[in-house]
């Protein structure tokens, strides 16, 4: 249950920030698979996620968060409660 909710919110933030349709973002989405997920867009996304979930990532986390599942893992490690 928890994971589904988190997944839904993460996908919404990713879609909104990258300017893509919500349907285009899924558990498979990553910097490799989504054209709009450029390196600059990635930085923008990190800023959006920090704001949306009220947390602050470490540099190591930032470099690891290159896909939707990776983002969810970091958020869960931060104890994000949806």
């Amino acid at each position: 249950m928890m994971n589904n909710l988190l997944h839904e919110r993460v996908c919404a933030v990713v879609a909104e920030t990258l300017g893509t349709a919500p349907a285009d973002i899924s558990a498979d989405s990553s910097t490799q698979s989504v054209a709009a997920w450029s390196s600059l867009a990635h930085l923008r996304l990190l800023s959006s996620l920090e704001q949306a979930f009220g947390i602050r990532f470490t540099m190591a986390e930032m470099t690891s968060m290159t896909s939707v599942p990776a983002i969810e893992r970091v958020l869960e490690a931060h104890g994000v409660d949806v």
Binding site: M1, L5, E8, T17, G19, P22, S39, L40, L43, R44, L45, S47, S48, Q51, F57, T58, M59, M62, T63, V82
Partner: protein
Amino acid sequence: MSEGAHLDVGLAVHIAQYYLARRRLNEARAALAPFEDAPPQTLAERRALADALASLASAHTLRRDFDLARDVLATARTLAETPAVLCAGAALAAATQQLDVAIAGWRRALSLEPSNDAAWRDLARAFETMGDASAAAAAYLASARHGTSHANMLAIAERVAALAPASPDTRAAERIRIALLGSSTLDHLRAYLEVACRLDGLVPDIYLGPFGQYAQEILNPQSALYAFEPDVVVLAVHGRTLFPELYDAPFDLSVAERKSAAAAAADGVADLLSQLSSHTAALVLLHTFGVPQYSSLSTLDLHDEFGQTAIFQSINHALAERIRRDFPFVRLVDEDRVFGRIGKRHVTDTRMWYLARIGFTEAALEALSEEYLRYIKALKGRTRKCLVLDLDNTLWGGVVAEIGPHGIAVGHEAPGNAFRAFQEAILSLSKRGVILAINSKNNESDAMQVLQEHPDMVVRPHHFASIRINWNDKVTNLRSIAEELNIGLDSLVFVDDNPAECALVRDRLPEVLTVELPPDPALYRSTLLSLTDFETLTLSDEDRQRGQLYAQRRERQAWEASQAHASEGLGDYLSQLDLIVDIAEADEFALPRVAQLLSKTNQFNVTTRRHTEAAVRAFAAAADATVYAARVRDRFGDHGLVGAAILTHAAPGDLVWEIDSLLLSCRIMGRGVETAMLSVLAADAKAAGALRLRGIIIPTAKNAPARTLYSAHGFTHSGEDAEGQVWELDLRATAIQAPPWLTLSVRDAVVARR
């Protein structure tokens, strides 16, 4: 759920939000259901319920359950048409391809809540889908204007640049070509500058040099930089890339080596500037080298003969000198000041620096683009010339017509000191060449009294080139100010605390920059100082004197007008003036001004005794003296406290009273005010039992106008004393009448009150 009717609405909304966050929409609906048939009584509760239903409808829309969304929205609408309900309706319409309906909905929501930056973005996307690029760009910019997040700013910059690119059709006055060069990733700087320019009505074309290749770009005459033909080149090179040893280990060097390294650093940058200047006529904005936050000598840095602070200051100082001498088109962007405003530790997010060589945070980007705009607007001739100010709750706290000149807040204690600080900032603008004007709905006499006489005011009538204190609407006044000063409406900045007045001016005179002050006067000063509209690229002596020159012009025109009238017939002219002379014993408020008049007045001054303020206060407090203050106003306005006299008498019942001092400000001479004053002095002395009134004339090089005062009013010359001529009036035989053309108002019988 009949028990639901007893449920608290706030609790139900809270429960619904809990389920909404977990996407359990049916449970959310159930939590709100009890109130759908029995709507709450209060408007606030109905609005809260409507907002919760709007969130639910939006969740249904996202799941593409449009029928459910429609149903929930219909219920919400019967409760209250809140902005959230309107936005949810618009989102549903957009999702079902009814873009016209969606746009109308967001527009209505934004008319109720213009600060909703998310709704502006939704509206922009709808316009984009419809293919209306310019409306979309405008809506994106409105979102940025209302303070959107960092990520949104970056996205908005991208969208507006794509939707409304600079093109050959762009009007030259709006076009600006900016090249950004530096040693870090400047993409975000480009985004913020793009938006900042557009919010000021400029259409920028921004060139971003290849990462870190600023030197190659500058040195190669064939580079893309020069091909771009920039109007402005920003050179934001971090000193660490030029002289790293002065950051990391300056104290490995001897003092002499540090000095020569600092000189070499400045020379290296100057070499870049001379290359730049020989290949482009652009305005170059060169970042200074900010003093690092920590020195390796730590607290002892300034104790060192040539510590790191001194090193950086000497580099910047040497550069400034070179630029003044050799590079007329280069200006320095002072990093220590610009970043000091936001705090240096907020300039760089170190994670972003290590990850992506991004040197500037959101706060730094805002501060930098604001600073660049100061230069860019000056370069594009967008400098505004005149600052037009409201009075009540703007220059001072409170409404003078309600609480009186003594009740307003301006002074040395809170909150009056905030208004004083604001006035100091206004005056410093005036000294830099900004013309000042007043546009206030007020009783002119009240307001002018404060401006002229309130001891704690910083700005005075002579600082203002144009004054409109009346009951006209502010739009009419602004037009007439622009006309009087012979400048365009687009040269005016209008500052007011009243949102309704600001909205009216913004609507009717969009060319005027209207600045609505924040509710807290503590923020007035910084609001004014953050305006980027008064900059010039150079400052001449004439600029420094402009405020004064305009104010003098106003006074001269008034004087010439009065001379023209005088030649038509003095009596007629004076009686048409509607002069009112108000004479009273000088109170606390008046005494400093009386002392000032005694110290300054040369022409109409019978004795020219320069009593100090302390001496004047002693006269006022003494039982055997009275200090008089005369205020004058006429149909054109209030002249303020312009006359003063000191009457002495040994004891009540003393037979001869003496006029120690009597004077008039030169701007009120020739209107019979002196006769009115003498009439009051004589009447008071007589009422107290005196038999004679004595006056002394002490001739000076300048007081010829005052020397005939006593002879013209029935006094007889009784001799000379050590200082001058002695004149006396027999109070039993002669009464002095105030002139028929003025209205004399005497506050109490001044002496009799004692």
